[in-house]
Amino acid sequence: MAEVNYVVEALKFMVLGMGVVFLFLFILVKVVELQAKLIAKYFPENTPQTPAVPAGNVTEDENRRVAAIIAAVTEFRNKKS
């Protein structure tokens, strides 16, 4: 094995690595942009809300309920005073 300049090897790694990272992200960007166009065309804003089967997130529901109550109570107090 001849003398190897490892720094040069590391620089090669950098070229390969940054190349692959950018290639990957570049393809990703293009695919995502294409996807966005396709979805906008074939699924025009079907109100991006809840899924088919709403798998009941209890805590959030509760939070919302609590919020509603707070709102109600606050309203009441404001009217009172």
Binding site: F13, G17, F22, F24, L28, V29, V32, A52, A55, N57
Partner: protein, 440 residues
Amino acid sequence: MKLKQIFISLLFAMVALTSMSYATEHEDASEVSSEKKVYQPKSITELGVSFWETTGIKAIFDTDDGEMSADPAGESKEHVMSAFESSFGRIIMILIVFTLFYLAIAKGFEPLLLIPIAFGGLLANIPLAHMAGPEGMLGVIYNMGIANEFFPLLIFMGVGAMTDFGPLLANPKTALLGGAAQFGIFGSLVGAVALGFDLQDASAISIIGGADGPTSIFIANRLAPDMLGAIAVAAYSYMALVPVIQPPIMRALTTKEERQIKMGVQRRVHRLEKLIFPIIVLMLSIMVLPESTPLIGAFAFGNFAKESGVVDRLSDTMQNSLINTVTIFLGLGVGSKLAADKFLVLESLGIMIIGLLAFSAGTAMGVIMAKIMNKFSKEPINPLIGAAGVSAVPMSARVVSKVGSEEKPGNVLLMHAMGPNVAGVIGSAVAAGVLLSIFK
């Protein structure tokens, strides 16, 4: 009251009767446990002396007691500790641990990981207890989920379930900033080799520049398990130090006008886009570099489970009890590598220095890339958001937003910075895959 006592008596009576009649069938209990050492009677003084032999004070101050180090892999990896390792080294490590506690609690630096890691480090440096050995608590944890890379992947799954790719999907181009910031990895790789590390160790260290804890642990475990402790600590420390490290670099590389650039309102993202995105990322990584698929696969699974909207039970568990439990274990397990004999080596100092360099280089390149993109883009891009490309989700995006609003009150960059921020996570995983594929 009476009833209870009757029950208890009954229980006793039953046991007594039956045991006595059959006890003869059993071998004597003392014979069974044949491994027991024969106890040699000792005078009270001897007892005191032999107790003294087992105290920690004695173990720390008697530097030449031939104490063995501990390693989760067992005896093959253990060695007689040097005088330094078994005494002064431990004290230094305990001081370092206290520093980490201080940073985590008083300064709020990544406490969720620094506290378990530091406490693991404290336990690993206890003399005689061998808690980092294969039968100690830390060793059991290490073998359960770190040696096989299971815990980092579970963390990644949980992070996936917590991540919202909306900002990235609203403005996909910003993903390239998350690529540029990976220069932190490859630049510091060159630096590490220049400092004298061999290529494989240098690669393991440089991943710190990815600013991503689980990725760093995953790679360190594969490429340089002996340096895992130092690498993990460096990665989390610098992630914690993001608010200190990044702003000066961001300011140095941008003009005041650039920092004041306002960015438009993000478009609304369709639910389907978010649902399909993790699958796209995974399919791409399958095609381009399968080596990165454990990381990206776990991340994509968590994100897909969340965005599917039909398994909220599972996605909630990933984001809460599961990731919390694994965080505790991961921290303690990583901490086991903070034992003096593992951490206090010259390499650790190199790792700390290169880590800082890597972080800075990544930040700088992200900002520069954003400046370039700003020049060629129709819509204005505030170069500050390039700094968020290092990942360190969501800390660096917050720092960007803070610096931005300091320059121009009311200029909220947070959502725009989240795009490069999550792209940085993907970018680091890809970079990790490249390094793994080189050394395969």
